[in-house]
C-alpha cells in the first residue's frame, strides 16, 4: 500500500481485546479505511496476542497512555460494560470518535450524558448494533420499505439462550457475572430493543412496557436470566423474551404487518415470508414453497458455518458503513436519537425486575 493511501486511513485504537474484540479486529486489520495504531488490555498477554494477530502498531496496558501516544481518530471501546462510561468519556475528550459495544451504559441517563459530551466534542459516539446489518434483517427491511408487509403491527424477538452456562453464570468466578442492574439479560437487551424500535418505527418513544424480569435459575452470578415483556409503542406492539431454560438455542425475529409476516432466526438463519394472498386455498402452496426455501436455507447455513459467516456477520458490514461515512464526511449510519431511544426502552424493561 502506498504511503499516500496509508495517510488517508483513519487511525484506530481498540480498548479491550477479549471476546467481542475478535469480531471487530478482523475488519480493522483488513479494511483499507482503517489503520490499527494500538490495542489495549489490562492483560499484557491478551494485548500482545491481539497486536501480533491483527498487526497493530503497538500494544498498551493503559488506555490513557495509548490515547496520548497514538492520538487515534477512532476508538473502539470493547471492555466490560461497567468500564464503558469512563473510557468513552476519556476517548471523546482525547478527540476521537467512539464506537462502543452494547450496552454502552447501565441507564438512559448515562447514555444521554455521553451523547451530549460527544456532541460538545464534535465527535461521533456510536453504540454497536450489528444485528441490523445481518443478511435477513436487510432483506426484511426491503420488504418493509417496499410495502410488501404493509403497516408493521407486531415485532416479536424471542431469544432462547442459557445465560447460566456462559461466563455470566460461571460459579467458579467471584462477584456478579456482569455489573448491570438487569444482570445477564441486560447484556443482550440492547439487541432486542434496537431491533424492536427499528421495525416498529418508534425512534423516540418506548411506549408502554409490561411483563417480568426475574431470576428463574437461582444462580446469583447471572443476576436475571428471564425476561418476558410486552411492549406497546404507537401503532406497533411486540413481545420481547429472553429465556435461559429453553432448548434449542434460538434468536427469532418475527415482523407482522397488515399484509404479511416475515420471520427469521439469527442463530440458524432462514427467511419465511407469508403474505395475505397466501391464505385459504393457496396456503398449502405457500407451505410447500416455504419448505423448499427452508431446505435451501439449511444448505446455505452449512456453507456459512464452513465459511465462518456466523451470527456476527453483520459486524464488518456495520463497521464498514461507519468508516465509509467517517471517511466521506457523511452522516452516521446509527443516529444518536436511536441510541438514546434504545437505552430508554432497555431502562423500561430493566424496571420490570422482580425481587424474587
Amino acid at each position: 500500500m502506498s504511503v499516500g493511501v496509508a495517510d488517508n486511513r483513519l487511525k484506530v485504537a481498540v480498548v479491550g481485546c477479549g471476546g467481542i474484540a475478535n469480531e471487530h479486529l478482523p475488519y480493522l486489520a483488513s479494511s483499507p479505511l482503517a489503520h490499527l495504531v494500538g490495542v489495549c488490555d489490562t492483560s499484557r498477554a491478551t494485548a500482545m496476542f491481539a497486536q501480533t494477530r491483527f498487526g497493530a502498531d503497538g500494544f498498551f496496558l493503559d488506555a490513557q497512555e495509548m490515547l496520548q501516544s497514538t492520538q487515534p481518530d477512532v476508538v473502539h471501546v470493547l471492555t466490560p460494560p461497567q468500564s464503558h462510561g469512563a473510557l468513552v468519556s476519556m476517548s471523546l475528550k482525547a478527540g476521537a470518535h467512539v464506537i462502543c459495544e452494547k450496552p454502552m451504559t447501565a441507564s438512559v441517563s448515562e447514555t444521554a450524558e455521553l451523547l451530549a459530551l460527544a456532541k460538545t466534542c464534535g465527535k461521533w459516539l456510536i453504540e454497536s448494533r450489528n444485528l441490523l446489518f445481518n443478511d435477513n434483517v436487510i432483506k426484511i427491511n426491503g420488504l418493509v420499505e417496499d410495502g410488501t408487509l404493509g403497516e408493521i403491527r407486531e415485532v416479536d424477538l424471542l431469544l432462547s439462550l442459557d445465560l447460566n452456562a456462559g461466563p455470566f453464570g460461571d460459579l467458579n468466578l467471584e462477584g456478579p457475572g456482569v455489573q448491570l442492574p438487569g444482570g445477564a439479560v441486560q447484556d443482550f437487551l440492547p439487541h432486542l430493543a434496537y431491533l424492536f424500535l427499528h421495525f416498529a418505527g418508534a425512534a423516540t418513544s418506548a411506549g408502554r412496557v409490561c411483563g417480568i424480569l426475574e431470576n428463574l435459575s437461582g444462580n446469583g452470578r447471572v443476576g436475571f436470566d428471564h425476561l418476558d415483556a410486552l411492549v406497546l409503542s404507537d401503532n406497533c406492539r411486540g413481545r420481547l423474551r429472553i429465556s435461559s431454560d429453553l432448548k434449542p438455542d434460538m434468536f427469532r425475529l418475527i415482523v407482522r404487518g397488515s399484509k404479511g409476516i416475515a420471520e427469521s432466526d439469527f442463530y440458524n438463519p432462514y427467511l419465511r415470508v407469508q403474505l395475505s394472498e397466501d391464505s385459504g386455498k393457496w396456503a398449502p402452496f405457500e407451505q410447500v414453497r416455504a419448505g423448499y426455501r427452508l431446505a435451501r436455507s439449511g444448505f446455505g447455513n452449512l456453507r456459512d458455518k464452513v465459511l465462518q459467516h456466523g451470527t456476527y456477520h453483520g459486524m464488518p458490514r456495520m463497521l464498514d458503513a461507519i468508516y465509509k461515512a467517517l471517511a466521506s464526511g457523511g452522516s452516521s449510519p446509527i443516529a444518536a436519537s436511536d441510541i438514546e431511544a434504545t437505552a430508554a426502552l432497555v431502562d423500561a424493561l430493566v424496571a420490570l425486575r422482580s425481587t424474587r
Partner: protein, 332 residues
C-alpha cells in the same frame, strides 16, 4: 518440599496430587470452587485451596510454596474461552507468585505444540523437534498452549527461575479412553484413521510419576521432557486392547493414512482455490490437523528416562484394563 499444584482436580491433576503426596511432599492443591474433592482419595495433609486463576482472588494468599506444578488450562471452548482459561490464567498465576524465591516451576505443556507438517529426523518426535510454525492453522488448543508455554519460559528467564517443561502425549486412564482410538463411529463400526501409526499414549499415573520426579531431579541443561510410555501401540492395537479388556468397541474399518492425507490435501486445495482459505473445517478434513493426529510417526521418551530417572510402571494391558473397568463401573 511445599508444592503448589494448579488444575489439581483435573484428570491429570488428581493423579499428580496423589503422587506428590506419596513422595513425601506437602501439597497445596488449587481446585476450582465448584470442584468436588470429597472422593478424590487424597491424604489428609493435602491442603485444598479453592479458586479460579482467571480471577485474582483469595488463592493468592496461599502462594508461600517452594515449587509450582502448573496444570491449569482450558482444553475446550472457543478461542476466547481457551485464551482466558489457559493464557490469562497463567499470566495471573505468574504475576502473583514470588518467582524469585521459587526453586523450580514445572509447566505441563502438550505434544500439540510440535510441528507435524515436517517429517522429523528418523521419523521420531523428540524434544528437539521444531515447534508448530502456524498454530493458527491448527486449533485454539494449539494456539493457547503455545502462548502459555512461551509466557512461562519468558517469565522464568526474566526472573532467573528454573523452568521445566513437561509435554505429555495422549493421557489415558480411568475416565478417559480416547474412544479406543476411534476417529468416527457409525453404529457398530469404528473407523480407525492411520490404524498402523503409533498412538503417543501415556497412562495417567505414569505421567504423574514423571511430573513428580521432575520436582527434585537434577535436570542439568535439559528443560523440556516428552512423556510417552515405552509402549506406543498402533491405534489398531490399542483398539484391540480395549476390546479385549471388555470395552464396547465396534467392528474396525481401517482407513489408511495415505487415503486420509489425500483427502486432506484435496480439501486444502479446494479451500485455497475456491474459498481463499476462509473455510473452517472439522479436524477430519483439515490436512494440518490430520497430520498432528494421525500422521505415522514414532515418539521418544529417552530424555525423561535418562534425566528424570523415570520408568513408566503401568504397562499398556494393565492401563487399558483399569480404564475399561472404570468405564464399565460408571456405565453400570
Amino acid at each position: 518440599m511445599r508444592v503448589l499444584v494448579t488444575g489439581a482436580s483435573g484428570f491429570l491433576g488428581k493423579a499428580v496430587v496423589r503422587a506428590a503426596a506419596a513422595a513425601g511432599h506437602r501439597v497445596v492443591a488449587l481446585v476450582r470452587p465448584t470442584a468436588d474433592v470429597s472422593n478424590l482419595g487424597w491424604p489428609d495433609n493435602v491442603e485444598v485451596i479453592k479458586g479460579d486463576l482467571r480471577q485474582m482472588g483469595a488463592w493468592r494468599d496461599h502462594l508461600d510454596v517452594d515449587l509450582v506444578i502448573h496444570l491449569a488450562a482450558a482444553p475446550s471452548g472457543d478461542i476466547a474461552t481457551q485464551f482466558a482459561g489457559t493464557v490469562q490464567a497463567t499470566e495471573n498465576l505468574l504475576d502473583s507468585l514470588p518467582l524469585r524465591s521459587l526453586r523450580r516451576f514445572i509447566h505441563i505443556s502438550s505434544f500439540s505444540v510440535y510441528d507435524y507438517s515436517i517429517r522429523p529426523k528418523h521419523g521420531i518426535i523428540d524434544e528437539a523437534t521444531a515447534l508448530e510454525s502456524q498454530p493458527q492453522a491448527r486449533d485454539a488448543y494449539t494456539i493457547t498452549k503455545m502462548l502459555q508455554e512461551s509466557l512461562v519460559i519468558d517469565r522464568c528467564d526474566d526472573t532467573g527461575l528454573e523452568c521445566v517443561i513437561i509435554r505429555p502425549g495422549a493421557i489415558y486412564g480411568p475416565g478417559k479412553d480416547w474412544d479406543c482410538g476411534t476417529a468416527l463411529s457409525f453404529k457398530s463400526f469404528d473407523l480407525l484413521f492411520g490404524p498402523l501409526g503409533a498412538f503417543r499414549l501415556t497412562y495417567v499415573d505414569n505421567c504423574a510419576d514423571a511430573i513428580v520426579r521432575a520436582i527434585d531431579a537434577d535436570v542439568g541443561k535439559a528443560r523440556v521432557f516428552n512423556i510417552v510410555d515405552d509402549e506406543c501401540p498402533s491405534l489398531w492395537k490399542y483398539h484391540n486392547a480395549c476390546r479385549r479388556a471388555g470395552a464396547r468397541a465396534g467392528f474396525v474399518i481401517p482407513v489408511p493414512w495415505l487415503l486420509i492425507a489425500a483427502l486432506g490435501r484435496m480439501v486444502r486445495l479446494v479451500n485455497r482455490l475456491a474459498f481463499r482459505n476462509r473455510a473452517k473445517l472439522p479436524e477430519l478434513l483439515e490436512y494440518r490437523r490430520q497430520q498432528a493426529r494421525w500422521r505415522p510417526l514414532r515418539y521418544s521418551n529417552a530424555l525423561a528416562r535418562n534425566v528424570l530417572g523415570w520408568t513408566p510402571s503401568v504397562k499398556l494391558a494393565e492401563g487399558v484394563a483399569r480404564t475399561v473397568v472404570k468405564k464399565a463401573d460408571s456405565a453400570g
